[in-house]
Each structure stands twice: as structure tokens, then as C-alpha cells.
Subunit: 208 residues, 6 copies
Amino acid sequence: FDKDLYEGNNVAGVVTGLAWTQVGGDILFIEASLSPGKGKMSLTGNLGDVMKESASIAMAYLKAHAEQFGIDYRIFDQWDIHIHVPAGATPKDGPSAGITMLTALTSAFTQRMVKPHLAMTGEITLRGKVLPVGGIQEKILAAKRANIKDIILCKSNRKDILEIKEDYIKDLNFHYVTEMSEVIKLALLDKKVKNALDTAYKKASKED
Amino acid sequence: FDKDLYEGNNVAGVVTGLAWTQVGGDILFIEASLSPGKGKMSLTGNLGDVMKESASIAMAYLKAHAEQFGIDYRIFDQWDIHIHVPAGATPKDGPSAGITMLTALTSAFTQRMVKPHLAMTGEITLRGKVLPVGGIQEKILAAKRANIKDIILCKSNRKDILEIKEDYIKDLNFHYVTEMSEVIKLALLDKKVKNALDTAYKKASKED
Amino acid sequence: FDKDLYEGNNVAGVVTGLAWTQVGGDILFIEASLSPGKGKMSLTGNLGDVMKESASIAMAYLKAHAEQFGIDYRIFDQWDIHIHVPAGATPKDGPSAGITMLTALTSAFTQRMVKPHLAMTGEITLRGKVLPVGGIQEKILAAKRANIKDIILCKSNRKDILEIKEDYIKDLNFHYVTEMSEVIKLALLDKKVKNALDTAYKKASKED
Amino acid sequence: FDKDLYEGNNVAGVVTGLAWTQVGGDILFIEASLSPGKGKMSLTGNLGDVMKESASIAMAYLKAHAEQFGIDYRIFDQWDIHIHVPAGATPKDGPSAGITMLTALTSAFTQRMVKPHLAMTGEITLRGKVLPVGGIQEKILAAKRANIKDIILCKSNRKDILEIKEDYIKDLNFHYVTEMSEVIKLALLDKKVKNALDTAYKKASKED
Amino acid sequence: FDKDLYEGNNVAGVVTGLAWTQVGGDILFIEASLSPGKGKMSLTGNLGDVMKESASIAMAYLKAHAEQFGIDYRIFDQWDIHIHVPAGATPKDGPSAGITMLTALTSAFTQRMVKPHLAMTGEITLRGKVLPVGGIQEKILAAKRANIKDIILCKSNRKDILEIKEDYIKDLNFHYVTEMSEVIKLALLDKKVKNALDTAYKKASKED
Amino acid sequence: FDKDLYEGNNVAGVVTGLAWTQVGGDILFIEASLSPGKGKMSLTGNLGDVMKESASIAMAYLKAHAEQFGIDYRIFDQWDIHIHVPAGATPKDGPSAGITMLTALTSAFTQRMVKPHLAMTGEITLRGKVLPVGGIQEKILAAKRANIKDIILCKSNRKDILEIKEDYIKDLNFHYVTEMSEVIKLALLDKKVKNALDTAYKKASKED
Ligand SMILES: [Ca+2]
Ligand SMILES: [Ca+2]
Ligand SMILES: [Ca+2]
Ligand SMILES: [Ca+2]
Ligand SMILES: [Ca+2]
Ligand SMILES: [Ca+2]
Ligand SMILES: [Ca+2]
Ligand SMILES: [Ca+2]
Ligand SMILES: [Ca+2]
Ligand SMILES: [Ca+2]
Ligand SMILES: [Ca+2]
Ligand SMILES: [Ca+2]
């Protein structure tokens, strides 16, 4: 499976992350998808416990700060959310997909488009702080190879970028952040995706 | 147990997949069956975690894109779904049955007939992308042996087919896809099976 | 515990199977019993995962094809079902009790008598196909010893019978099947057991 | 903890069993106790899986044959049942407490007195058959030591008794059974215990 | 953490037990605390399975004999109960805290004061019998060191006390019991604690 | 990840603790966050069983003593609480974050500001006692490095502070406590955080 190709932004809830694997850096896709339901969260993609926890933190953060992102919190009980990280045969773990997961969830619940040719890596905390992660240089190589233009990183990872040869990264724009709100501002467009789901709050019908 | 024989398409929800086992390629049957219920999914057939995740991804995808396949999403709460992969004594794992599972689920909920003499192999993602899988040449041998005529594969697996001697595969039609919607278009007939279940949405009765 | 004795057919839900153990063939009893409840299924008898899956497949099949066996599917929510396989200290596993389990469940829900002096062995699939199983010759020896007269097997197991010395099996009637519907037709009498439970659908009372 | 002393029959739900441990035979007490509830069953006493299954079989049998023992099956949803087997530090397993458990449950739900100076050992099946168990001679020694007068055994265990020196067991009365109904008839008196619980069915009150 | 100091009896639900650890005897505190709820029981303090079972037995006994202790059984559904055994880093197991747990629970639900300078050790059964436990001499040393005056033990543990040098234990009062009802009579004062919770049964309000 | 920097007190529910790791002392943040819900508690941050138990004890204590902290206990059923301890990749265990957790929970439910430049370490019991913990000297070094001014410790840990060279700790204020109520008084300001959540009890609306 060749994940080295960026795949566009026409679907809400799909965000490109950067992973550091045993065989070097790679890009990965966080896919978050809603279906009518009751607030259940499912996780697939051969994820380890720390990565599952990142999804749980991201969901808790989004629920606690729904208003800030223009989400009526009552809709969280009206949809089931599934997060998948292809490819299914590869075990994945670690906290560095945290900000990618929160961005994917926010896009799914708002149906806002993700900025094209963007990738990101960083741990989140429950307060919305962005924490630095490892493997930055390998991840940057993978991002270039995959035709990524913009990269969001924790401010504390700037030192890792400064160590990379200038010439090599001149085509990439780095965005350094410390708070999750900055990530969302950088990563999500105001515009909704084509054929956006109607995620507005619906009163329960009498029949149900 | 001799799985090398294709067994017809008179039942909805049964789709032929291609498996790559320690003793070579083989065909396998994904059996998806509905019974009146509340939306519970059961999985049997000695399935490993990755294969169980494929079923979960397939179900989430179908729920999120129900309309596209002509399914009223409210029926997902009116049926229990069971997926079995014979034979029960053989452990099975891996993501390559993903598209077969989604096809089986779609057939079960629509009661549409599966195209005869068709087999398929490929991983699905939550967005409905089809990803390439391994063991293609062994799987093709098994398909021929089982009297399969049409085979659906991920476009990226074309290179594996091109390496097979022309003469050997002249009786087989290959269909290369990148999206799950293409699989369904190729795999399901418009016609329903004989004695199709009535899966239309039913209002809850007063008595219940 | 001496299981080598057939024990009559006066109770609904009890069907004789054939097992292949480390010390040779043996007969075993599948006991399925209903009590007023809400559709819960319990399994006991030191059963391994594959054998538990067989029970789950059998139940799903019966629920999906209730009408065919004259069962109102709404009763599945009005009874709890317990399946036990004596003796409790012996671990048991494998798919070969599948058809015996489905027969026991069908007898329990219909209260139809099981044909006397009958035993069976075979795997079921979710579509109701009967698959061949191993240890046939050892199982046949055990059946004879236990005074069994009729034996149901998968058609593909015929070859195993043809290898047994004619003289040895002249007192046994073999019934070869490929579909579960044939098993039920052969195994269950139309007549209900004495003191049959009333398993007809009951409207929920106002009080409840 | 010295279990070698029989402790009277003034409490419903407490029945004396015979166990075969690494250090010889012993008596044990099955304590079944009801509290107002919703049908939950709890098991304690460091019990292994097979012994837990025996409790589950006993409960299923009692529910399916409630009428036969004069129990209104609707009361099973009005009480929680707890089964404990002292002493808590000793691991216990095996199916031989099956008939003792069913007797204890029946006494608890009917509040009928247990026959004094009685002990028993035997496996139960879901149909109510009593199966033979091992360690009979060691168990009989323990029963004598504990001042037991009557012992219930499976008919197939008679051969084990016949091998014991006549003189040694002349003070003991053996009752050989094949069906659970015989055990209950032998073990429970018609009389209820003093201060018996009122376990008659109660209509749900309006308030609740 | 120095558990060797008795800490007073001003809080309901806190009872002093005696433990036998790898480094000798020690006192421990069973803390049982109520909060408005629905009958859930939580256990913390690094407890092993046998010790958790003791809590479960104690709770079942209290529920079944609520009336005897002046408790309206309907309140068990109106409170959640948490049992903690400090210190959290030390693994603890065994049945010997059983009577201490039941005493703590009874004090919590009745809000009755615990007798000052009292400690106890003993296993409980579901019938309320008190069983002897080990490590008595080490436990007595710990009790003296912690300024305990009264000690409750199982009658069968008297022989262990008789082996201790008279002079050493002359300041301690030993209370030998066989039934849980004696423990409660000895351990709980009639007087409620200051600022006692109102644990009387409350009718559900209309609003809820 | 550099946790050595104190990060301010502008968010309710975030409290600074002191940890003792294999590589020395460190500060850690307990993040407790509310979202509208039904009383579910989630824990993340790679926490071991003992640390999870601390959170459970803290929650039980807060529920049982809600009134004392000015909390209407009925709100516990109206919010879900998530506790996270960054960083996600580091396993954490032990009881010493107990008082930090309770402080974070109390701040979250009251929305009261946490005193600036404060850190704490100590085990809690269910009665609200504060117990001493280990690694004090390493923890103090980490606190100084992180610009902490006030430190809360168990009174029994005073001896550990007295062993530190006077000169080294002259900038730090130590607060020794024995009860949880003292911790809350020292750690939480009366003032609520800016943009405080409205956590007052809300009557369920008719619509819901
Ligand atoms: Ca790649
Ligand atoms: Ca994380
Ligand atoms: Ca084959
Ligand atoms: Ca997959
Ligand atoms: Ca046998
Ligand atoms: Ca099977
Ligand atoms: Ca003994
Ligand atoms: Ca048994
Ligand atoms: Ca100590
Ligand atoms: Ca115990
Ligand atoms: Ca650090
Ligand atoms: Ca703790």
C-alpha cells in the first residue's frame, strides 16, 4: 500500500497526518465519518492503546469546546462517529496523530473542507495544548514525497526543522502552533464540502 | 472442506472473495444475513482482529452512504446482521476481504442479486477507497480453479496481473477499481433475489 | 461419564451428535432449553470458541429462516435459550456440532420430537449449507456402540463411508445432505413432545 | 478452616456437597441467597469456569422447570441470587457440585427446608439428568467424618460404593438417582424454614 | 505509609481490620462511603479477586438481611457504594477482611458509629457465619502497637490466642464470635455519627 | 516533551502535580474537563491501575462530600468527566497524584481558579485523609526548576523536607496537610475562571 500520495480534500473528516515508522517517515490518513446514531465512537486501523486514547482526548476536547467551533453540542448524541486509519494490516501507535484526529473530527461534525496539500503532526492535551513529537525529519521527507505544501507542527518542534538543510525544505510552509484553536484555523476552510451532510441539531420526532 | 467451487448467486448477502493462505490461494464466501432485530452486528468464522475491523469499516461506510445505495438508513436499527466466513475451523485474518464484506452487506440490505461467477479482493477505507492487497497471483489461480469469470481488483494491483503469463488468464475478465461505488456497480445486479426479504423501512407499531 | 448410550427422544431440544476426541469417537448430546426471557443465549459445557461460534451461526440462521420452520420470529425475544453439552469437565471444540446445534434449537423452539436413534455430524454455514467434517470412521464406530440406527452426514463425507468395510455398517442408514433444510426434514418429527411448552407468540400484557 | 462439620438445616438455600480435593475428600457448603432485585446471579468462592457453568446450568434448569417445583417463573426477575462456596481462599472447580447447586437454588426460591444430615455429589445436565462423578470413596470418608447420614449419588456411582468395605459404611444411607427430580424429592422437605422469605410473585407497584 | 495508628471513629463506614502481610501484621482501614446513586458498588485499593469477592459476599448478605439491621432494602438502589482499602500502592488479598467489610457497609448504610479502639479479622460466609483466619499472632502484635483495645475473632481462632504469652495480651479484650450478627452487635454503637447522612428511604420525586 | 514549565491557571480543572519517574522528578498536569453528558468518567494518559483507582477514589469522595464544596450533587449526572495526564506516550502509575486529581475535579465542577504557581503530591483515602508519598526530594527539585512557588504535602512528608539543605528550598513555601479539605482551601481560589462553564443544576427540559 502506497500512502505516499496526497489524495485531495473533497471529503469532510479526512485529514493527512505524518507518521514515523520503523521503515522511515510516511503520510497517513485519519478518516472520520458520521452516521446517524447515538454518540458511539468506533476506532479501527490496528491502533495501539495510546493512539486510541488520542482519539478519546480529541473527542472529549471537541465536546467540551463545541461552541467555539460552531457546533451545537446536542448533535453529539445524534451521530455515531467512526475513525479509521488505513492501512488495516499495519499496527499504529503513539500520540502524534492527536491534532490530526481532532482536526478530522471537527471537519466531520462541521462538514468544513480541509485545506488542500496540508499535513500535520503533534500530540494534543485535553486543554487543547499542542505538544511536540519525534521523528520530525523523517516525517518531512515523507511529506515532500507526497506533494504536501503546508505542514503544521508544535512550536517546540521548530528546532528540529532548523536542523534540516535549508535547500531541502524551501518548497514547504511550516506553521508552528501551541494551541489546538490555531490548528483548526489553519487547517479547516470556512467552506463546506460538496454534498455536505446536514449536521444541524434536529429535534427528536414524535414517532421515535 | 473444499472451497474451490463457486456456489451460485441465488442468495442475497453471499459474495465470493479471494484469500491467500499458507497453502496457496483459495476462494472464500462472505455470508451476510439479516434477521429482525435492533442493529446488532455479529461476526463468526474464526476471524482475526484486522478482519473484524474490516467488517466494522464496511458497516460504517454503508451506514454513512446509505442513500447512495438506495437504503433508508433507519432500517439499520430494525435488523441484526450476522457475517460468517466458512469454514469455522480455519483462522482467517487480514484486510483483503474488505470490499467483499461491503458488497455482501450491501446485497443483504438491498436484497440485490450478486453478479454470477464473480470474485473480488481488496482493502476498503472508511472513505470508500479501494486499496491493493497481496498474494494476487495465488488468488487468481484459485479463482480459475473455482470457475470464476470476473474478478474485481484495486487499480494498483494491475501490475501484479501484468506479470502473469497472458495465456493463463485469457478466460478471466479483470475489473480495476479505486472506489467502492465502482465495486457495487460491477458486483450487484439491479434485480432482487427470489424470495427477497422485505427490507423497506417499517414504522414501529403501536403495540411494540 | 459414559456417553455411549443413546437416551431417547422424549424431551424437545436434545439431539445426538457425533464427536471425535483424542480417545476415539463418541456420541454427545446437544441440550437446548428455553425459559421465559428476552432473547439471551447462554452456552455451557466447556466449549471452545469455534464451537461457540457454531451455536451463534445456528441461532442466526434460525432467526433469519424462522418462517420456513413455522416459527413466528417475534418469539425469539420472549425466551432465553441455554445450550449445554455434557459432560462439563471435558473441553470440546470444532465446527462439527453445527448441524446438531441447529436441529436442537429448531426442536426447542417448535417443541417437535427428534427422530429416535438418530445421530448427526456436520458443519453449518450461515446460508444453511452443510459442510463435511473429519473423524467419520471413529464417529461411526461410536454411533454403532450407542445403538444409533440413522446417521446424517454431509454429502462430501460419503467417500469416508465408502471406505468402511460393508459388513461393519450394514445396520446403519446413512442420509447424505447438502442443505440444512434436509437435516430438519430428516431429524424432526411433525409430532410435538409430550408436555410441550406453548411457544406460540404472546402479545405483551398490559401489566408488563 | 474446618469444613468437616455438618452445620444444620435451619437456613434455606444451604446444601451440603462432597468435594474431592488434593488433600482428600471434604464436605463443602453451597450457599444460595436471595435479595430483592432483577434476576442477576452472582458467584463467589474462588470458583473455576466449570463450576461456574454448573451454577448457570442449574439456574437455567430451574427456570425452565419452575412449574414442576411450584415456582411462579415471574419471580426470577424479582430477586437477585448470590451463590457462595466457602472458604474463599480455596480454589474450587469441576462439575460435581451441580446437583448440590440446583438443590440449593430450589430451596432458596421455595424456602423449603433441606433434609438434615444429608450430603450429595453429582453432575447435572440441562435436561435434569444426574451424571456420575469421581473421588467417591474419598468423599464418603469425609461425609462420615462430618456426621452425615444420607448421601445422594448418581446410579452409575453405585459400583464405586460396592467396592467399599461393608463394615465401614453401614451407618450411611445411599440414595441412587438418575434424574434431578428425584434429588429434589429426597433433599427438600415440604416444610418451609422458620422466618421464610415471602417469595410469592408480587405485581409491580404503581410507584415503581 | 504508617498504618500502625488507629485513627478514631468519627466517620461512619470506616472500620479497622487486621492484616497479615509479608513483613508481619498490620492494621488496615476499610473505608465504605455512600453517594447518591443507583446501587453500583466500586472497589479500590489494589485488591485481589478473593478480597473483592469478600466485598461482594458482604453486600449480598447485607441486602438479604437488611431488615435485621434496621435498613429498608429499597435504599440499596438509591446510593452508590465505594469501598477503598488504603494504601493504594500495596496489593491486598485474602478473605480475612470479610467481617470488617460487612461491618463497614452496615455502618455506612445505618450511619451508626463504630466502637472506638476496636479491630477485627475473620472470613464471612453468605449465611453470616464467621470463619477462622491465619496470622493471628502477628495481627495481635500489630493491634497492640496501634493502640487497639478490643478485638473480634472467630471462635475457632481462640486456640491461636491461647498460645500467646498471657502477659503480652493482658491489655486486650478478645471477643469470640461465630455469627455475623454478633459482630455487628459488638462493633456498632446505637448512636449515629455527627453529621450523619440521611439514608432513610425516599420516594422518587415526580420530576425525576 | 518538556513538562518542566508551569503553564498558568487560566483554565479550570488543570492542576500541577509532582511525579517521581525513573529519570528523576518532574511536574505533571492533571487535566479534568467536563462536557454535557450523563456522569461517565473517562481516563487517558497511559495510566496504570493504581493511578486509575486514585481517580475513582477522588470522584467518589467528591460525590459523597459535594455539599461541603458547594456542589449540587445532582449535577454529577449532567456532565461527563474526562481526566487526562499528558504526555500520552509515558506510562504513569502510583497513588501520589490522588490529591491533585481531587483538586482538578473540584475545580472542574466548581469552575474555581487554581492558585497560581502551586504544585502538590499526596495519596488520598476515601475519607479524605492525605497520605505521605515517596520521592519527595526529586519532586522538589523538579518543582523549583518549573518555577513553582507553593507546594502542598502530607504532614508526614515534612521529615523529607527537613532533610533538604535549607538554602536550596528557601524560595518555596510548604503547606503540610492531613485532610483533603485543607488541600482544597489552599489550592482553589474563590474566584471562577474567565468564561466559566455554567455548572449549576438544570432541571431536565420537557423535550428531553
Ligand atoms: Ca508508502
Ligand atoms: Ca495524546
Ligand atoms: Ca480448497
Ligand atoms: Ca481494512
Ligand atoms: Ca464414552
Ligand atoms: Ca461452524
Ligand atoms: Ca476439613
Ligand atoms: Ca456441570
Ligand atoms: Ca505500618
Ligand atoms: Ca470471603
Ligand atoms: Ca521534563
Ligand atoms: Ca490512591
